[in-house]
Symmetry: C2
Subunit: 314 residues, 2 copies
Amino acid sequence: MLVESRNVVLLVGGVGGAKLAAGLARVVPPEHLTIIVNTGDDFWHYGLRICPDLDTITYTLGGLVDRVNGWGIAGDTTATLDALGRLGEKPWFRLGDQDIATHLLRTSRLQAGESLTQVMAAITAALGVRCRVLPMADEPVATRVDTVEHGELDFQDYFVRHRWQPTVRALRLAGIEHATISAAVRHAVENADLIVIGPSNPWLSIQPILSVPGLRQLIAAQPVPRVAVTPIIGGQAVKGPTVKIMRELGYTVSLETVTGFYKGTINGFIVDAQDQGADFDDLQFSFFDTLMNSDEKRIALAEHLLSWTSDWIS
Amino acid sequence: MLVESRNVVLLVGGVGGAKLAAGLARVVPPEHLTIIVNTGDDFWHYGLRICPDLDTITYTLGGLVDRVNGWGIAGDTTATLDALGRLGEKPWFRLGDQDIATHLLRTSRLQAGESLTQVMAAITAALGVRCRVLPMADEPVATRVDTVEHGELDFQDYFVRHRWQPTVRALRLAGIEHATISAAVRHAVENADLIVIGPSNPWLSIQPILSVPGLRQLIAAQPVPRVAVTPIIGGQAVKGPTVKIMRELGYTVSLETVTGFYKGTINGFIVDAQDQGADFDDLQFSFFDTLMNSDEKRIALAEHLLSWTSDWIS
């Protein structure tokens, strides 16, 4: 295998994106890999600053992740959560004891004035993650979900407490107008040789990243392959509410809806092999098995991304 | 046994005071018992608001305390602490997983605008503690320890990290000028029929309480028995640095130093039976076995406090 010398930037949310991140981390040297992560899911809970997507990526790359759930730390216990129950609380967000350590360290460092980028650099370094795991922005942004049944909900309230069952009417990114492209994100994008949008939920996970003022434009301006990996296989989401939300927001459930959503941002698209026959104007596209249900398939998809895009320019 | 109908107020710090609190809680109906607790030891650690003395009292009265240490929750685990170690931290303050639940609940409620008095009322109620456990004040006060070896230290830095080994030159109560007598503390003191100062460290644990502006005067003005239980037995502290600090601050190690320190505040003193023969001007005093190394002896001391003081007035 040739050692990859291109700089690769991956945009992701949580569980699905983490699998592709893990694949890329196996085939791209860490100094050439940067993961830019959605922070719209971040929230405060019992005084802790919790960043679910950043932690899922970090635990996955650090080899700590609970592989059954795809998030959290393998073998984590819930003594604190159980004690909160004894104190009369009804915690609805699973806080593992080991996971709480991450939240405590992050919260205290943020309160001491460090940026989220700095904090995540320290946490990833401590866990042996050598590529860069960057928050999309250091300023807090909160995805709010306007639902038919309950009105506007905080993201985790919608996603975890209500198990994404309410009907989505609209999405809003509170605070996005104050978000800025960090120096680390700008450096990564401007020096990227390949930009990949992971198979994460376009509306819930990728939209917040692309909505950081100026970031979509900065990405679109890079004269390099900018490839999205399909979040839909055979008309279904692998996991989570991608298709449900697409429908509720009034879109047709189709690959064209996805490419339309990314129009102008991407110039390439990886379609699942199950969807053989699909065709896309103005995009390079490639069919591949995108269901990353093993380490081998994560690596295979990552290698395909590298080899396919090395061919097609310039 | 007669049901005690007097209102009893106990002033305490942590471990030693908790034993007397537990004894009193067995012989005084909860509606007649109020514990006023030192908060000068409170501190922030990894973004958590930690109140060691309030928690020691609460866990003891709730039957959760680790009886070997005298603090913390029996059987508590340290998964979070261990995970902080994996993140490169070297935590020096023992944070049990169940204990962290208390800190999380307190921190988040304080940040939501509740007073410490309100928060502790909720926590004690949830744990089945029916008497009142009141912080000496709702405003933050921090005991600072000026040491020969390291200069001024935060209290827990002195007490836990340095295991109270540095030589104390002076004590300072940062923020005490902003502390106020809460409505709950005022109500308890003004309605007290018996005020007890526990066998806690006079300088580290009781001094902060008595330094809340106006509180020493309010206590001294109550025409009721105001009794201190000796913190020294046979010239030794039962546990902790009482004698060491007394010496370092330039006092003679004696019971008279203790009564002198409380002069004007107390009108009675319980001396340990080992110190039979001691004599005190202007104070009622009584000899009793004050070493509370069993439940029976905690209860016996509490009963003695009640029966002895019921005789001597008025």
